[in-house]
């Protein structure tokens, strides 16, 4: 795991920890700034999120109204509405789709420049992605939530620690989403053309993360398998389940812990893949 910290090779006698935090912060800020320039696209994107919010919310509420007891998958109507609207806001924070930067840089050969920097590539891409997510949180998270609040009764968390736990869960979701995208993009080191894996990822991520419908609607054995064996539910559904308090306190915390485990494993795999890729680049010259 030593390649994961943002240590900068430096001969300055001042605290190396502070140096790395500063570097990481600067990289994250650059990610933030980069997305802040697409103001109009942000507005257009929010509009689209809101339209899909209405679509998914009405469908799930109709299902809730039809199910005996009114709790499909264990959610009541306000929980479902919250699930949908907060989910629409989170979608652009975790950014399941649309990141092909690394694959593009590999294809064009620009990726070699990454190796010249004193920061490990996984770290610098992660920092930039956290900056992007921060921008998404400030600009894209709010609008669907506000629209949802205006048109539908939403769920108000009852436990005092739910919101902070949700925040932690969102950060873990962003990191896991980044790691998955990094791995999918990194296939370009070996395949030359990562379009296939990227499409496969886009296809599976939406449904397996619980965007189209809460995964709890699936049979139990499938739900549990997905949760434990794959990081997908941790990308979107876990934060949402945490926020709407779908489970008891113990399971609520356990789900976040599971996210953390997935994150650690994924980042370790990213670092290992990057090491292999660098060796390939150095030995074979790309």
């Amino acid at each position: 795991m030593d390649r994961l910290d943002a240590r900068v090779l430096t001969i300055s006698p001042s605290s190396p920890f502070r140096e790395s935090v500063t570097t990481f912060g600067a990289l994250a800020w650059s990610g933030f700034r980069r997305y802040a320039t697409y103001r109009q696209a942000t507005i257009a994107g929010s509009f689209t999120n809101v339209v899909f919010g209405f679509l998914r919310c009405y469908v799930l509420l109709a299902v809730a109204a039809a199910v005996a007891g009114g709790r499909p998958g264990g959610y009541d109507a306000t929980q479902l509405a919250t699930y949908v609207w907060v989910g629409q806001g989170l979608l652009s924070v975790v950014a399941l789709w649309g990141w092909t930067e690394l694959a593009d840089r590999i294809r064009t050969g620009d990726v070699a420049a990454d190796l010249l920097r004193p920061v490990p590539p996984v770290t610098s891409y992660l920092a930039a992605d956290l900056g992007r997510a921060g921008h998404g949180m400030l600009t894209r998270f709010g609008p669907p939530l506000v629209v949802g609040l205006i048109f539908f009764p939403l769920y108000v968390p009852a436990r005092w620690y739910t919101v902070p736990l949700f925040a932690v869960s969102v950060v873990l979701a962003v990191v896991a989403s980044f790691a998955c995208r990094f791995l999918v993009n990194a296939t370009a080191y070996w395949l030359h053309d990562a379009r296939g894996p990227i499409m496969l990822w886009m296809l599976s991520a939406g449904v397996l993360a619980g965007l189209y419908f809460p995964l709890r609607l699936l049979p139990d054995w499938l739900t549990v398998t997905l949760w434990v064996a794959t990081p997908f539910p941790g990308l979107l559904q876990t934060p949402l389940d945490v926020l709407v308090e779908r489970d008891g306190p113990a399971l609520q915390v356990a789900l976040v812990a599971l996210q953390a485990v997935h994150c650690a494993v994924l980042l370790a795999v990213c670092a290992a893949v990057q090491r292999r890729a660098e060796r390939k680049l150095v030995v074979q010259g790309g």
Binding site: Y38, T42, V51, Y58, V63, A66, M199, V207, Y212, F213
Partner: protein, 266 residues
Amino acid sequence: MAELRAYAALAGGQLRSVVSYRASFVVEMVTNLGSTALDVLTVLVLFSTTNAVAGFTLPEAILIAALSSCAFTLADFAVGNIDRLKTYVRAGTMDAVLVRPLSAMGQLLLMDLPFRKLLRLAVSASVLVVALVVNDLDWTPARVALLVVTPVAGAVFFGSIFVLSASLAFWWVDSGDLGSAFTYGGRDFTSYPVPVYSGWFRAVFAYALGFGFVAYQPALALLGRADPLGLPAWAGYVTPLVAVVAAAAAAAMWRAGIRQYRSTGS
């Protein structure tokens, strides 16, 4: 005739381009197939939680979803790529297209014809077949004609929506994925019975924009069911009319867009 051959040559060029990346092409084809299957699967998951949602059973819902899917996949294959207009405008492809002796729209569509989406047509057609089997339909000549016409008219309608939302890029290059609220959003809307929605949202999407006539109303006519929302039975047969209106609007918008492009060049 010569012009047709020119367009055919364009499509052929695109086919040879995509198969030059054979592995990617296969994967893209499979994932596209999967994505259509997933749309149907979502309907399946939601409707199998209970006997009927908003008064519609699973087989009825599958019929609606299948009609929607047939119309959408057909339109998406033929004109869906027009939503890349933003890229074309930004990269200057539009300029290159305008100095060639063929229609701009024809070139843009055929130059980038998404062969990877072909298998989707097969998926949605087979879902439609399944839907026709699991529903106990009372066949009349009018219903047979309706079954044939509906996917085509729906495709014209969706195609028009694609063109309309893509044309936005002529005025607003940074419109991002705004258009997909209506194209993919429209697909999602039409995949479910209209009574699932309510309020002004339903009024806007189903009636003002016309999405209610793509799959829901024709499905009611095929099933011989009265519309719980009170539209008369003939509403199931007006899809071609709605499609023609949408196509006219799309053509007008496209022309205005080209004019706008010519006056601003951006």
